[in-house]
Amino acid sequence: MKILVAVKRVVDYNVKVRPKSDGTDVDIANVKMSINPFCEIAVEEAVRLKEKGVATEIIAISMGPKQAQEQVRTALALGADRGILVESDEDLQPLAIAKMLKAIVEKESPDLVILGKQAIDGDNNQTGQMLGALTSMPQGTFASEVNVADGRVSVTREIDGGLQTVNLSLPAIVTTDLRLNEPRYASLPNIMKAKRKPMDTFTPEDLGVDATPRVKTLSVEPPAERKAGIKVADVAELVDKLKNEAKVI
């Protein structure tokens, strides 16, 4: 069984990003970049399936600038067998990413595609679902448990108010939630081994995808700072202020 697992290069979760002063974007020059935590969980799940003997090959893919190959290497150091980088300096958005993943799925015919449910930079939570629609593969999103047996995958999903288990025919898409597993870290020998694992590079054009952004960022600004409170003399003044100043009643 072949697994395709996608990893996104994002600002490290420890970094507190700030908007640029001109409000065009967040300032991420020279900040630490890492694999999106949900994608790390996806890699871990794939590696566990391989360790259990369920999977035979894991392909790790990332899309983004040339430096995104670092995240592919990390996935290789964690246990993926080979890597793919789709190199593009565009601001890659979920639809473009899903289209490119579709092209790779057609090329590689994986039995399972495991993705993070969302990335911590855009918080879109769209790519897995869009890929499902584009490929007509069944999807089990927000997975907290994944079991593969008899050509099917059963996915326990975290939903409002509890857990839901879906049983999907393969090939299928799984997107990971936080409680699915606890990812390992790369040991130093595996970091060295990862250097020698193969990695293919494509461009969006190679895959026949127009990666031009469809959604435009108008402005980025920090949330308004909380102002100091005031004391009111009595209930009447409070009601008056709520009504006439805050206009909430």
């Binding site: 420890n14 970094v15 670092e70 870290y185």
Partner: protein, 601 residues
Amino acid sequence: MTTRLLNDRDIEFMLYEFLDTENLLKRSRYQEHSREVFNATLDTAKVIAEKYFAEHNAKGDANEPTFDGEKVHQIPETKEAWDAFAEAGFLAAHYDFEDEGMQMPEIILRASMAYFTAANVATSAYPFLSLGVANLIHSFASEEHKARFLPPMKDGRFSGTMALTEPGQGSALADIKTYAEPAKDGTYRIFGQKMFISGGDQSITSNILHMVLAKIKGAPAGVKGISLFICPKVLVNEDGSLGERNDVALAGLLHKMGYRNTTSTVLSFGENGGAVGYLVGEPHKGLSYMFQMMNEARIGVGMGAALLGYQGFNYSLDYARERPQGRLPSTRDPESKQISIIQHADVRRMLLAQKSYVEGGMAMCLYASSLFEDSQTGETEEIRKEAITLLDLITPMVKSWPSAYGLKANELAIQVLGGSGYIREYPVEQYYRDNRLNPIHEGTDAIHGLDLLGRKVTMDNGAGYKLFNKALATTIAEAREQSSLAEFAEQLESALNTLNTVTSTLLNKLPEGIDEGMANATIYLDLFGRVFASWIWLKQAMTATQGLAKADVQENDRNFYQGKLQANRYYFEWELPHIETQANLLMSHNLTTFEMQDAWF
């Protein structure tokens, strides 16, 4: 509020801008590596440090190791952390590929270690010591002993200690009483007691290799009669399996102010017929071998001190940004919103002082590691020799300056938090207690002052001292070319002249009376350290200036570089000038303390 570990941007700055670590990739030893591999290594270090070390830093402090007469008990997280460190491959990382290592450059190993130390200095002491012991065995032990003892050290089954100090002797090693008698089988039997042995017993590994300094019976007096032995806690059979307990007993644990999860032990050797010891190298040369480990440990101690300071700085900075208290002197309205304390000038003074100490100290130690790297893998014989010569000279400052000012930074962190800093609910008081050890172990300030003035400055006809002068002169000339830094170039030149005048004055006076001449050596050490630290800061400022000049510099980078420039300015304007007072004392051969008499107290 958790404490973030160090500052990734600053580590990147130090490794790839202030130092040229990427250039190592040109050396044949590192051709298999890449910056990606270095970064992945640092990432793994950070993940393990956060997950397995930082989590029990306070717990290990609150639950110090105990001894029930049979065994040492420690919180279980200690062993989990050790195992994670070993399993990730850090104990073997710097060895050759053929020895199942990764040929990791020294500086990447040390920068990785920085995360562990910052997370939990006490638990990190175990791998720290073991790395040093393995290096010592690797450098000087026989092939047979290497084959028997190194594999279990690399995979974490054995740990190591350095057993130098005795109940009667700490700094004065010439007078140690532990002795060794040759046995018929070619090994030795060791008798004596050692004290303050860190990691001398623990609940982590199945065996411990003590590197013991002892005198073979009949050896010459003084340091020239000291030999080095491997003395395992449990004897190791030739096939590597564990045999009987050796005659090494834990006499007791010592109860420390800080670094509590590192056991500090009193060990008795040979109470039942003699502890089996294996001679390392030749007889009577033990101290020179041990100096390899001590020099490595000295850079490590300086680094640890800077990092504890760094963690206190991080915590107090975050606190100062979040804690509202008071108003500016210019604000009259008592109903106005309180400001965060970072808006008070005096709080910024305390933060900036910390920044100059901890970032200066870390840069100093990483620079020392880069010299060690050059001494091993530099392209030419000349580069290798110059690197080790300069490193020898600066080691006393690399150990002492961060130890003094990292601790000072922790004191300021407590002050920034005020009452909260003094209570155990906040981590900064522990950093202070932990850091208080660093000016003491691996040679006290006084020992390093004597070493510097009495030995290092004149060693090899002053070769190291001349290299130091040359290195500073180069920086001064370069900095002068940049208008924004010219004033600091002038100040550093003047400080270097002061150092040179003081040095020659003191050296000229020594023949008249060495006791008087060496009396103020600790002050000389501090003066030298300040000049050295100013140089390190000016080099950082030059790098920051280059960074700011880049066309595409972004806002957060601009702030980062501005911070470096302001810390540089602080150090030159607020700290460096103290050398004038020190120089006056030293050059007038002030004997106030020397002439004070016991009875007058």
